[in-house]
Symmetry: C2
Subunit: 536 residues, 2 copies
């Protein structure tokens, strides 16, 4: 066992003397995309609904007349755009979904959104709302010929009050831009994502994005104070409250958070932003078992209390994938004297560096002196901070490099989380497709489990030598059945979109689905908004 003293030394030796690893802590989707093997479509897409009008040149003329700028509408129908021009709006960034929308409208104000929606409503034209188009479930691309209503031109920060910490901004403001604006005044956006350089805050709210800071700042259901949205018939709903407390009726905005553009289009967001932590620390540990990870999670909460900002875990299969990937790209230096079956990463963010380090040191001493971890390293500088984060953040990219990946993103109660991975391995082994973890002879090369321990959010990456129907049928719907058995969610943070819409019954019971359908019907009786998706 390493002593607490040794830990600090170990950290210096393990991390400081080697060449810097990948420095990226945030991977932009556009840069990740090429390194991922595109995920296949799980099922045939639904057919076009005859209830929707087919868009024509007359519609284009009429809509254009509603806009302040001619360039706010481009279309292949009237020759103002080629199919290539529209490709980045029709395709998702994983290049998995390919819509056929012939019209892209980019209104410059909420009023313009309203006018376009009203016209579409009166003419039975279907619409797909689109933010930064960084989603993972095909939610922001057309399925057929829906009009793409893109919010990029609504990109103004409306106000920020440093006394209350309340930011009000247009839906099309890019998350990173919002966060940079806040950083100048010592505040932080209470959400952080890999796609922060491209995604819109309106899209974040519409999809109830989770991300890396949920453990610390909670969900958007708690931090969003108000919304402005345009309803399917063009009515502008001003619910842009700047109040932390308001008990005057149903909290309507909550329905829009996570509605994936199916009941209205969010045009502005009011959100409560906390002070930016002035001190950040990160440590990573090797552990003998998943039970040990759970114990350390409890201890981290106890010792770090209010400064714990992330608790991530990954298994030895994940770590092996990352090591292999790093060896092939500039080299991997061993971080641990003793490797384990599991690893966990602990991040703190606080307002006083000295206090935070003292708390973290106490935790480390406790963990080591009680044999709760096998080994560990604590980042001593920014380079090491990023290097440690990379061990966790490179898992998906490394899996993509290793083969064709069946990717699942689920929520399971923390206690049962890793059981899902073990059940999946057993299933694959029993079906003869997994002779041993990482066996290059079998169709399945590795089953890696990792994720946001603090949020109960598990990622399973099943790495195969190629996609086959045989393997898929072994995995699905079995994986959804186990998630359901464990009272989990088949979509922790990515949403339903077109990809998971058919599987919602694995996570929601009949009563819930019936209520959802009634709410959709209430807000969007013609079903014009983001059709073929979400609750179908």
């Amino acid at each position: 066992m390493a002593t607490p003293r040794a830990l600090s030394r170990l950290a210096t030796r393990a991390l400081a003397r080697r060449p810097a690893l990948h420095q990226t802590t945030r991977l932009s989707p556009r840069t990740i995309a090429p390194s991922y093997t595109p995920v296949r479509l799980g099922s045939t897409l639904p057919p076009r609904s005859a209830a929707f009008t087919k868009p024509t040149e007359d519609h284009i003329k009429a809509i254009r007349a509603l806009l302040s700028s001619n360039s706010s509408l481009i279309s292949t129908i009237d020759g103002t755009a080629t199919a290539e021009d529209l490709q980045s709006y029709n395709d998702d960034w994983m290049n998995k979904y390919h819509g056929k929308g012939p019209i892209v409208v980019k209104p410059k104000s909420t009023e313009e959104v309203s006018k376009v929606m009203k016209y579409c409503y009166e003419n039975d034209l279907a619409i797909v709302p689109q933010g930064g188009n960084t989603g993972l479930v095909g939610g922001s691309n057309p399925v057929h010929d829906e009009i793409i209503l893109n919010l990029s031109n609504l990109s103004q920060i409306r106000s920020f009050d440093p006394v209350s910490g309340i930011l009000v901004a247009d839906a099309g403001v890019i998350l990173e831009a919002a966060d940079n604006h806040l950083a100048e005044q010592g505040f932080i956006f209470p959400l952080d994502l890999g796609a922060k350089g491209s995604c819109h805050i309106g899209g974040n709210v519409a999809t109830n994005a989770g991300g890396l800071r949920l453990l610390r700042y909670g969900s958007l259901h708690g931090t969003v104070l108000g919304l402005e949205a345009v309803l399917p018939d063009g009515t502008i709903w001003n619910g842009l409250s700047k109040l932390r407390k308001d008990n005057t009726g149903f909290d309507i905005k909550q329905l829009f958070i996570g509605s994936e553009g199916t009941i209205g289009i969010i045009t502005a967001v009011s959100i409560l932003c906390p002070r930016r932590p002035s001190a950040m620390n990160v440590a990573v540990f090797s552990l003998p078992s998943y039970e040990a990870v759970q114990t350390v999670f409890g201890e981290a909460k106890a010792y770090l209390g209010e400064i714990l900002s992330a608790f991530e875990f990954f298994d030895k299969q994940s770590y092996a994938l990352v090591k292999k990937h790093q060896e092939e790209n500039g080299g991997h230096r061993s971080v641990f004297e003793q490797e384990g079956d599991f690893y966990c990463l602990i991040e703190t963010g606080g307002s006083n560096a000295e206090h935070d380090e003292a708390k973290l040191t106490e935790l480390l001493e406790h963990l080591l002196s009680n044999d709760l971890v096998m080994d560990g390293v604590l980042a001593q500088d920014t380079t090491q901070f990023h290097a440690i984060w990379n061990l966790r953040e490179l898992v998906p990219e490394s899996a993509g490099k290793a083969g064709s990946v069946y990717k699942y993103d689920v929520s399971v109660p923390v206690g049962k989380m890793y059981g899902l991975v073990e059940k999946m391995r057993t299933r694959l082994r029993e079906n003869g497709v997994l002779d041993g973890d990482g066996n290059p002879e079998g169709p399945i090369r590795a089953v890696a489990g990792y994720g946001h321990m603090g949020d109960g959010n598990l990622h399973i990456n099943i790495v195969a030598n190629k996609y086959t129907d045989e393997v898929e049928k072994i995995i699905e719907p079995y994986i959804y059945e186990i998630v359901a058995e464990f009272d989990g969610s088949i979509s922790a943070e990515h949403g339903l979109g077109v990809m998971k819409a058919p599987y919602v019954h694995y996570s929601k019971n009949e009563t819930s689905i019936a209520m959802m359908k009634q709410i959709k019907q209430l807000f969007d009786p013609k079903g014009l908004l983001n059709p073929y998706k979400y609750i179908v």
Copy 2:
């Protein structure tokens, strides 16, 4: 100016040598009640709806047959109860609202709630759901002869997971009981209220209670993970998720949070509970202006960061009322060498006492050395902790002792908060009812402003020598008009109930109200659940 050194000394001198003040930090509603002058009803109650069936002995027999215990139903109709027996269910604790419900049902399981609701639905019998009956707006008492469905017998804690911090409990569990259960394992319920000894967690969720810990733990919209509820037709909806992340459709439970029993009856709650702070500190300051309070609020957030757990303010009129009340009840010793026009109370709660004290000391040195406050004291022990909290918590009781109080509880953006109090004083002065603050000759003796600064939650207490229509007409609807002008809420945390239902348009626009009415209609087409209230 006091030096930082002097502050600590001052604290000892000011607080340690005098007799202990009132030690109560939490005032139970039942103990407060006698000291309050009951608030009058603002408007005539709505007439009984002919759409509802009048309850008869046959209904009683039928409902009793659905219950496992005979004593779960008592009624004046079949002689199993006297009017006196039902009084505590028909009256609210302020003794302001007096229902005439002849039947009280206390089901012992969710299934029994379901059976009773189904029967009532089929027979058009109106129902008022009732938790601890500690509300302030007449929301949990019948208006006419509605059947009182009391949740007290659903009082089991179902589970607690110390790894995730997730508690699942019946709706009828008393808040303090839930918190005590959590305290044993080092956790805290993320909500704290004066009524904690009587209120139910189901009622807390149904009314979206705010309370003293909102600044730190956020609203119930963020901490509640799942609900079980019985819909008006008796359908049991199991939405009792134990997941922090779940993006599979509309977040239905959010509609129930703050719905005040109008669309279903909450029977169980799943809630995320944080670790209990092991260290608590409190300080109080005198300040020259409201602008200074805002500045100190910003500095407190910067210096204390993640350990700031409460930031309360009160004006000199509030302090004068408390001083007078304390002088009449055991004596008041001056806390401040320099009194100010304003006061603020800062509480910290963290996981490391030494660190918290260091942070607080740094803040105090900064505030004093920059003349941001006039004077201040820091509690040195538990007695002083309670004594300082009393200066803020005794305001409503002290106002009640000083005369007949017109009480308002509103949310206003922090920057405009005190402007509301000043506008009200001007209004009263211009109308000749306030010659000077605290003038015993005028009908208005004092206008005191105080509240949860951190939440933008303002309480205004207008102390009159007696209630008169003349004064009421000067105050109302003027106060609601200013709240609307300031984009505020006419009900920060108390809800609408029967008291504020007619005034919701001051805080919600037509589109919002129309959506709310549609949601009520969707869930409760017969309007049987908590009629005459909320959205009318």
